[in-house]
């Protein structure tokens, strides 16, 4: 039995693993809320709508004290909010609000509002924290998680849409959310004049900093009614739905369109050889690194009979956004994620164990794909032997594209330091590869001098 360290702050219970199965132990302190969740019909209602993760009761017995042990449906991979694109983040926020609204109709409320309670399964958000629901007492609908919602969801989303599309990355350094005053510091004056932002961020921040309390009346007398609370949630839903990133754009978002026109034959050849390489492979998990908008990730999904889970990783938020939006229509087993190969998500939180680094969460791949990637990593002064070490994380195969220094894209990237850069020629590239891999196939991607390699990891 291995206890999940991410559960350490939850008094209602904890996740643990045994024999590859995920269990959740529910503490006696949470007994009445858990029973109410089931008996009120809220659990069934949310599961029927695919809002909440389903579970079954388990016969597992543990020496710890507990009320019940349940077995939640297993999820392949746990992603974190700083690995999501804007729309993923927005949909996670909307799902949380909708669940809160539905819950109040059943006499319950969410005791927390954190994006870590949401996961993406086949391009749809799913609420995974069954122990987040609390019974409402004395008809008091004031929502104790509203501040957390503002700092974990609303603030980052507003910043992503108005200031910096990468603002969700601030959650790596602010595990409990971005404080209201910091959100306001980053917003432009005209954004602060937005009535919703003024009343929901500016005013609460003013009250909090001035330490104004309802001193004259004992706080027990002040209550929020059900209608008042539902009005708040509905106005939040309307505002979050109105947020978009139309005014923001990035360098990479335009890249694929550009290359499609520029290198038609090259793209056709690359697709053809990629499909040919995939023929004999039966991976369960694939990492496509530098996936851009996921064009090749989708080819990989569609041309493998093993129906693998493909993780489509890219550093650019607009690419990941486009990838996610395309995949919402296609419904492939593909997960688009923000991923910086030179600075992957770290372990953070209590004892650095609360939120884990990405390599300990991503399932071990039987295939890693790196197309049109190595020149970008070399540009960061990372040497080819280090890059090959990354690809050696595969359990079996690698498909990698070699780009020679005289390639037009390399010339663009390295134009100011073409003589100084340590760029591997093809012999050096192959020599490094052969330290870990056997070369199974090589194909030239005409009309360019780029080459596509299929590699198999040496057995130790």
């Amino acid at each position: 039995m291995i206890k999940e360290t991410s559960s350490l702050r939850d008094p209602a219970g904890y996740i643990f693993y045994d024999n590859g199965i995920v269990y959740r132990s529910i503490s006696k302190a949470y007994q009445s809320d858990f029973d109410f969740l089931n008996n009120s019909g809220l659990y069934k209602h949310l599961v029927d709508q695919n809002y909440l993760i389903s579970h079954k009761e388990s016969n597992y017995t543990s020496s710890d004290e507990y009320y019940k042990i349940i077995e939640p449906t297993k999820i392949d991979f746990i992603s974190y909010p700083y690995e999501w694109s804007f729309s993923q983040f927005k949909e996670a926020a909307l799902l949380t609000l909708k669940i809160q609204l539905e819950s109040t109709n059943y006499g319950m409320t969410l005791k927390d509002a954190t994006p870590y309670n949401i996961q993406f399964v086949k391009a749809k958000p799913l609420f995974i924290d069954t122990l987040s629901f609390e019974k409402i007492f004395n008809e008091d609908y004031s929502w104790s998680a509203l501040k957390q919602f503002n700092e974990m969801f609303l603030g980052p989303l507003i910043l992503m849409s108005r200031v910096d599309i990468s603002a969700n990355s601030y959650l790596k350094t602010n595990i409990n959310g971005i404080p209201l005053n910091k959100i306001l510091d980053l917003l432009k004056f005209k954004d602060k004049l937005n009535p919703f932002i003024f009343f929901n961020l500016m005013v609460p921040n003013f009250i909090a900093t001035k330490n104004i309390n309802s001193k004259n009346k004992p706080s027990k007398e002040l209550k929020i009614s059900k209608t008042q609370h539902q009005n708040i949630i509905m106005s939040y839903i309307d505002f979050v739905e109105s947020l978009n990133i139309n005014s923001l754009n990035t360098e990479w978002g335009k890249y694929n369109k550009e290359t499609e026109v520029e290198k038609n034959d090259y793209v056709i050849n690359k697709e053809k050889f990629l499909i040919n390489f995939l023929e004999q492979l039966k991976p369960k998990f694939v990492w496509d690194v530098g996936a851009n908008d996921g064009t090749y990730s989708r080819i990989i999904c569609n041309n493998l009979n093993s129906n693998p889970a493909v993780f489509s990783l890219d550093i650019d938020p607009v690419c990941v956004e486009n990838n996610y939006l395309i995949n919402k229509k296609n419904k492939l087993n593909l997960t688009p994620l923000l991923f910086d190969i030179a600075n992957p998500s770290p372990s953070i939180g209590w004892l650095n164990q609360e939120r884990k680094n990405i390599f300990s969460r991503l399932p071990e791949p039987q295939l890693i794909v790196g197309l049109a990637l190595i020149h970008h990593i070399i540009n960061l002064n990372i040497k080819i032997n280090e890059i090959i070490k990354f690809f050696a994380l595969t359990k079996e195969f690698v498909i990698i594209e070699y780009i020679p220094i005289h390639d037009i894209k390399c010339q663009q990237i390295f134009k100011s330091r073409i003589d100084k850069i340590e760029y591997p020629d093809e012999d050096e590239f192959q020599k490094e590869i052969e330290k870990y891999f056997r070369i199974l196939k090589v194909e030239k991607l005409n009309p360019t001098d780029r080459k596509l390699y299929l590699l198999k990891l040496n057995e130790i």
Binding site: L146, P195, F196, F199, P204, A208, S214, I224, Q228, I232
Partner: protein, 46 residues
């Protein structure tokens, strides 16, 4: 120094007050939204 002082403030301070203000704003916003939807549907019918 300010950060230090903030550590000693109960995070629930002013919570009810804030939510009362916010709910008043929400009621007004939803009222206008309903008028907007009504006017839109009125013109759409024609």
């Amino acid at each position: 120094m300010l950060e230090m002082i903030n550590l000693y403030i109960d995070p629930g301070t002013g919570m009810i007050l804030i939510q009362l203000i916010v709910s008043a704003f929400a009621a007004v916003a939803l009222f206008f939204k309903r008028i907007k939807t009504f006017i839109k549907s009125f013109f759409n019918k024609k």
